[in-house]
Amino acid sequence: MKSFWKAVSLQRNAMFGLAIVGIFILMAVFAPVLAPYNPTEQNLEFALQGPSGEHWLGTDSFGQDVYSRMLYGARLALGIGFASVALGLLGGLIIGLLAGLLGGRVEWALMRLVDAILAFPEIILAIAFVAVLGMGTDKVVYALAISFVGPFARIVRSDVLQVKARPFIEAARLMGVPPFRIIVRHLLPNVLSSLMVQAGIRISTAILLESGLSFFGIGVVPPTPDWGLIIAEGRGFITMAPWISGFPGVALALLLIGLTLLGDGLRDAFDPRSGGH
């Protein structure tokens, strides 16, 4: 862990990104404590009010507190982002490992499947899966996860092939280490490190995708406090009540910038592909 921090702290951008992301994580974690109102509590008499003492960031067309919705939105964004990437990573790991280790026809078949997934732009895939699975927070997570399996599987397979060819794997074989132990002890740790960096970078993609889906009305279901959804809801009031779309929009942009900076920094520090470490 020590060397992890040492490497990351060397990148100024990464630290900056980490700070931004850290703030949002805190917002997400402590949303129930920080939010003054229930995010779905409607108060029609106070609808479309500008920022004030009672509603720091104003209210939307249903009288819901924008600030509270924004805080819970952070929770949702990060939650969906992490969950979908984690699931996609798991799926990609399984497929990539099987393909890389077994080779032959299995590898061929799995990789053609991956090719098929990769042939579609991620957003099209996500839309298609939402169409099949239905709308809702969990469905969005699954849809995104499936569209991530493809890229991850490819990365895992190529990493597995690369690491498999390195002398220390063969040396372990020569020592008599049983195959399962070689995979767990020698192969996986060397594959996972660069994979984690790739996963981190994907989280911002996930968040952008889910916000996009929600914006178009095919993601989460209202009144879930999702930034994309809020921005969509505020679209009609952009001249009258710009704060509805404005604040969540800024929050989304900031989080994405923070994640990108952090991801770049992690990649520069760690990913052997890009020549770091």
Partner: protein, 335 residues
């Protein structure tokens, strides 16, 4: 004399490297074959120290890979303790892996970069249950001491060690499983002279002290003579000369061995490029003696018949000496 530990019987290893273009549109080309090993016959007894000496394309690394069971032979048999290594059952294979330790040329690459030295050395100990868990630490430190490394290196990663240190760790790891044989591939190449000398002394001392069988791959005749009592000179997939070190160095019989020795830099001797020409490619080997194209003593007969590795008639019958040459040279090599 006892039964030999390793037996290599007429082993061949051929790789397919692409195809020659066929004639016309529809005929498939002929496969191009790389004959890495072309009929190798060797016996190694317990306690022997033998050096496999050769240049690029000699097949020495391939031979060792086959002997270790990493790849199957295309033809011929490889025996360990009279048992074909391809026929090992699980228990026999485990024993084989434990008794024969291999030290890679790329010592650093042969270690998991994410494991500390302590874990790297403990792995064989735990694998073969050589001691209780509480004794592992003590054993690891003892191993480090045996190869002349300080205990504080146990916490480091391979990337943090110098070239010489990492090779010593490789030796320590090889010794950890208490093997009977050590096989090393160019373990001292590319090192500073003083580091190389330290490592050579270490290897020699350990092998002698522990009665280990040593199989050492090298291109350096000096290293071969320092470490091993037997030398097998290889050229293009065949052993061309084999025998006791002192014997071979004193009276090399094969023209290639003589050329090799003359080319070997030595103090007080002027530079001699005794062998002209390039080392031919192992693909599409010529008929007849494979060395004929570069041999200063070649005669037309040499191009027709491939010499067999055998005991030369007039050599001392007690000496284990074999040469693959139609006209082995009898005189002592002039310094």
């Amino acid at each position: 004399m006892g039964a030999p530990l390793f037996t290599v019987l007429d082993v061949e290893k051929t790789y397919r490297v692409g195809t020659t273009p066929g004639t016309g549109w529809f005929s498939a080309g002929q496969p191009r074959l790389l004959k890495a090993l072309n009929g190798v016959r060797l016996e190694i007894a317990q306690g022997d120290s033998i050096a496999l000496v050769g240049e690029s394309g000699s097949g020495k690394s391939t031979l060792v890979r086959l002997m270790l069971g990493l790849e199957p032979a295309t033809d011929g048999r490889l025996l360990y303790r009279q048992v074909d290594i391809g026929q090992f059952d699980r228990a026999a294979r485990q024993t084989f892996r434990r008794e024969v330790a291999f030290i890679y040329q790329d010592a650093r690459g042969s270690m998991n970069p994410r494991m500390r030295i302590r874990a790297i050395l403990a792995e064989p100990l735990r694998l073969y249950r050589l001691c209780s868990e509480s004794e592992v630490e003590g054993r690891v430190l003892a191993l480090l001491e045996k190869v002349g490394l300080s205990a504080d290196l146990a916490d480091r990663y391979p990337s943090e060690l110098s070239g010489g240190q990492v090779r010593r760790v490789a030796v320590a790891r090889a010794l950890a499983a208490e093997p009977k044989t050590i096989v090393a591939d160019e373990s001292v190449a590319g090192l500073d002279v003083s580091v190389q000398a330290q490592l050579l002394n270490l290897l020699r001392g350990l092998c002698r002290e522990m009665g280990l069988t040593l199989i050492f791959i090298t291109h350096d005749l000096g290293v071969a003579s320092y470490l091993c009592t037997r030398i097998a000179v290889m050229y293009l997939g065949r052993i061309v000369e084999e025998g006791a070190t002192a014997d071979i160095l004193h009276r090399p019989m094969h023209p290639y061995t003589r050329g090799l020795m003359r080319a070997f830099p030595s103090f007080g001797r002027p530079l001699t490029a005794s062998l002209k020409g390039e080392i031919p490619s192992p693909i599409d080997l010529p008929a007849g003696c494979r060395f004929a194209s570069r041999c200063p003593h070649a005669v037309p007969f040499c191009l027709t018949a491939d010499p067999v590795l055998k005991h030369p008639e007039d050599a001392d019958p007690n000496a284990t000496r074999r040469v693959a040459c139609h006209f082995p040279i009898r005189d002592i090599l002039e310094p």
